[in-house]
């Protein structure tokens, strides 16, 4: 009996070892199959709530999971969600003894921020917002009582969201309305919250126009925008990116959203935006970008390689357009040593393809982005 027991445990152990080895090999091979040019961009490991340390606030855990699964998607939505979660963190925060709020709170927030970054790399706007928050914390009056300080901070966060995002969007929409006339055929790519608001507002004002939505795999975000516009009664056309040359013949204006704007005037946005902007420029169609100023970044970027985000390459295998996945030919790509899949999330549009940028401070050419940044810094 004992021998049998020993044999069994040995068997089990060897089985477990074998499985471990297999999974290790899988991981290694999947890492090797990252396209060589993008090997400096790690594919986000995704949120793993069980591995999070106990310091992470549950609100942050929730949005980390939502980011990793792309349930919250889009620069504005992610920024607002992050700031709202941090508000809860601050409200639940208690300054430990021997230190002040303005010194300890940033260190308390750091693990939360790194957890979010691990679930999905931060957007430029989020980075700016968090930097603003940290600045506010550090300039907090030391004499203020904890509760008052926390209240003040939450108010400041609300103000940021209101001023730089919500109201900014409304101002952008009002500027943008000047650019939409009767009979326009407007092309937009994927889904931008600002462009969506602009089109809905223009329709509400009674302007007669048509919209062409160009969408692309594997995210297919344009479908959400399509539903929204169709529900409002706007006449829409929908096509995939391959048809953009065919579709641009009738288009009068192109409206695009932004993830971030670099200081050299280049637009960093959803992958495929550069293609749409370039094709429109070829046909001399004006390209108008709607972007809030909190998305302006200090850095400069020349191509889509040095800074980008890679999504899960397995998303490319599924070729169905509905929620039920249907595996295409690439199923089992992991077993083919020479085959790699690349699922880029962003790309860079050079400034020469963009006609104008609508921000809450007005309509500026994209080369004026560093000027605006400088103005904000002086204030």
């Amino acid at each position: 009996m004992e021998n049998e027991g020993n044999k069994k445990s040995i068997k089990e152990r060897t089985k477990a070892k074998h499985k471990e080895k297999q999974s290790k090999e899988m991981n290694e091979s999947s890492n090797k199959q990252v396209a060589a040019l993008f090997s400096h961009l790690e594919i986000a490991k995704g949120a793993n709530a069980s591995l999070a340390s106990r310091d992470i606030h549950p609100a942050v855990l929730v949005i980390g999971l939502q980011f990793a699964d792309f349930k919250i998607c889009g620069a504005n939505a992610r920024c607002i969600a992050t700031l709202t979660a941090f508000k809860k963190v601050i409200q639940d925060y208690k300054t430990p003894e021997g230190t002040t709020l303005s010194r300890h709170l940033p260190t308390h927030l750091s693990p939360q921020i790194s957890y979010l970054v691990n679930s999905r790399p931060m957007s430029v706007g989020m980075g700016n917002a968090i930097r603003h928050l940290k600045l506010e914390i550090s300039t907090m009056d030391i004499d203020l009582a904890d509760d008052d300080a926390k209240l003040l901070l939450c108010e400041k966060i609300d103000n940021f969201i209101r001023d730089r995002i919500t109201v900014a969007d409304r101002v952008i929409v009002s500027y943008g309305l000047q650019k939409i006339q009767d009979g326009d055929v407007i092309l937009t790519y994927a889904r931008s919250s600002v462009v969506q608001a602009l089109l809905l507002e223009a329709h509400a004002k009674g302007i007669q126009f048509k919209v062409i939505i160009v969408d692309s795999r594997p995210r297919l975000e344009g479908k959400g925008l399509l539903r929204c516009l169709v529900d409002a009664g706007i006449s829409c056309t929908y096509a995939f990116l391959h048809a953009v040359g065919f579709v641009l013949k009738d288009v009068s204006k192109v409206f695009l959203g932004a993830h971030a704007f670099m200081s050299n005037g280049a637009l960093y946005s959803r992958v495929g935006t550069a293609m749409v902007a370039m094709m429109a420029k070829e046909k001399n169609i004006p390209v108008i970008v709607c972007c809030e100023t909190y998305k302006f970044a200090e850095k400069v970027q020349l191509d889509s390689f040095v800074m980008n985000e890679q999504g899960n390459p397995d998303e490319m295998v599924n070729i169905s357009t509905t929620s039920t996945p249907k595996a295409g030919l690439l199923d089992g790509w992991l077993h083919k040593p020479d085959l790699k899949l690349l699922n880029l999330l962003h790309d860079l549009t050079p400034s020469k393809y963009i006609t104008t940028v609508i921000t809450e401070v007005g309509m500026i050419p994209c080369t004026s982005v560093p000027v605006i940044l400088r103005e904000y810094k002086q204030v």
């Binding site: 040359g245 065919f246 293609m275």
Partner: protein
């Protein structure tokens, strides 16, 4: 020996298969058309060249009507027509040099044929000039026709018929049957050469691969093309390079291409169409196939190609198109969309989303028109040519009166 009835059955069979799209792909379509036309030439009863030409035009017209978007059918028909005329012209000049200088008897039919042509083409001074306008540098006309000009002057169609002709009727009839008996096998052998050219198409193009690909290159390709596949696989035997394949949603031909290339051991990366511009800055060359090449050098290619070619132009990346000559069409794209098809939008948005489909227009174009300024080089089975040279290839291989079949 198969009779005309069997021939009709064969013609009907190919027409039906074309219409039902059971024959798919320009190469298979061209091969089947060439084989059928060879049957037509060998089996059908004809004793005058213009009868044969009308017959081929007739059959060709039916085939083109069966699948109008498949331009390769018309191209092969035009090649065959040109072939027949070339053979005929060279045989005429050969036979004229063989005849004595006093024999102005060239057949009535022959004269009629030449008269017809003279009406269509601008009036020429002598028949020799006429011959020259039809034949290109690669033709089989011998140089002897210069010497026969003296005997041909009577064919100018000025109505003056020499009295000697009537008495030479018998001889003429003999000459008739001898002449056309000799013509048929020549035409069939030329047709066989055309079929051989088609069968060796891929090998001829792939053999040029080493001249165009260097090591450690990053090459981009779009969709799935058998020509490009063989081109790249041949190069991969001796050079190490990597490929970026743009999947062409919603047909996903790029997936098939990538699978096939990676199985041959080539380092392949699949990207979605949206990443084409992003990746283009690191791509050294774009190599792609095409569905058809038009007379101005423009391409009719799978949808998405215009994006790739424009992005390549913006990065000054050369665009190389691998195509066989059978895809070169003398048609001109006066309207970009005249060669395009909009196919079922189901892969873009399926019926599962019914309420949305009712209120929305969904577009799914099948082809793209790429303008000739975006293409750097055509690699064909006759070598590499820039887009500006295509008009010469059209002159050599097709006749202007066959442009509309």
């Amino acid at each position: 020996m198969t009779g005309p009835r069997d021939l009709n059955a064969q013609i009907e069979s190919l027409v039906n298969r074309l219409r039902r799209r059971q024959v798919v792909g320009s190469w298979s379509v061209s091969l089947e058309t060439a084989l059928l036309l060879r049957q037509v030439v060998s089996v059908a009863r004809w004793n005058q060249v213009n009868v044969l030409i009308n017959l081929v035009k007739d059959v060709g017209g039916k085939l083109v009507m069966a699948q109008p978007r498949e331009l390769a059918v018309g191209n092969i028909v035009r090649r065959v027509l040109r072939l027949i005329r070339d053979v005929y012209n060279s045989e005429v000049s050969n036979s004229n040099t063989n005849l004595t200088s006093t024999s102005e008897e060239v057949e009535d039919d022959d004269k009629d044929y030449e008269d017809d042509n003279m009406i269509k083409s601008p009036p020429q001074k002598s028949k020799t000039y006429d011959l020259q306008s039809y034949s290109g540098p690669g033709s089989i006309i011998s140089s002897s026709f210069f010497s026969s000009s003296a005997s041909m002057i009577n064919l100018l169609g000025d109505g003056s018929v020499s009295g000697k002709e009537a008495s030479l009727d018998y001889d003429r009839n003999l000459l008739n049957s001898f002449f056309f008996l000799h013509l048929k096998p020549t035409i069939i052998s030329e047709l066989q050469e055309l079929i051989n050219e088609l069968e060796n198409m891929y090998v001829n193009i792939a053999d040029q691969a080493m001249e165009h690909i260097h090591s450690n290159e990053i090459i981009m390709t779009v969709g799935k093309s058998r020509t490009v596949e063989m081109f790249l696989k041949t190069a991969a035997k001796k050079r190490k390079f990597s490929i970026v394949v743009a999947e062409t949603s919603p047909k996903y031909l790029g997936h098939e291409m990538a699978l096939s290339l990676s199985q041959a051991g080539i380092d392949t990366t699949v990207i979605s169409d949206s990443a084409i511009f992003a990746v283009m800055s690191r791509v050294n060359k774009v190599i792609m196939g095409t569905h058809a090449v038009l007379a101005n050098g423009g391409l009719i290619s799978v949808s998405g190609t215009q994006m790739v070619a424009t992005a390549a132009k913006h990065h000054s990346t050369p665009v190389v198109v691998c195509t066989g000559l059978y895809k070169l069409s003398p048609l001109y794209p006066y309207d970009e969309d005249s060669f395009n098809d909009l196919v079922a939008p189901d892969p873009v948005m399926s019926f599962d989303e019914g309420e949305l489909i009712d209120k929305v227009t969904i577009l799914n174009p099948y082809y793209d028109y790429v303008s000739p300024e975006l293409v750097s080089l055509f690699i064909t089975n006759t070598g590499g040519h820039p887009p500006s040279y295509l008009y010469r290839l059209i002159n050599e291989n097709y006749d202007p009166e066959d442009t509309v079949i």
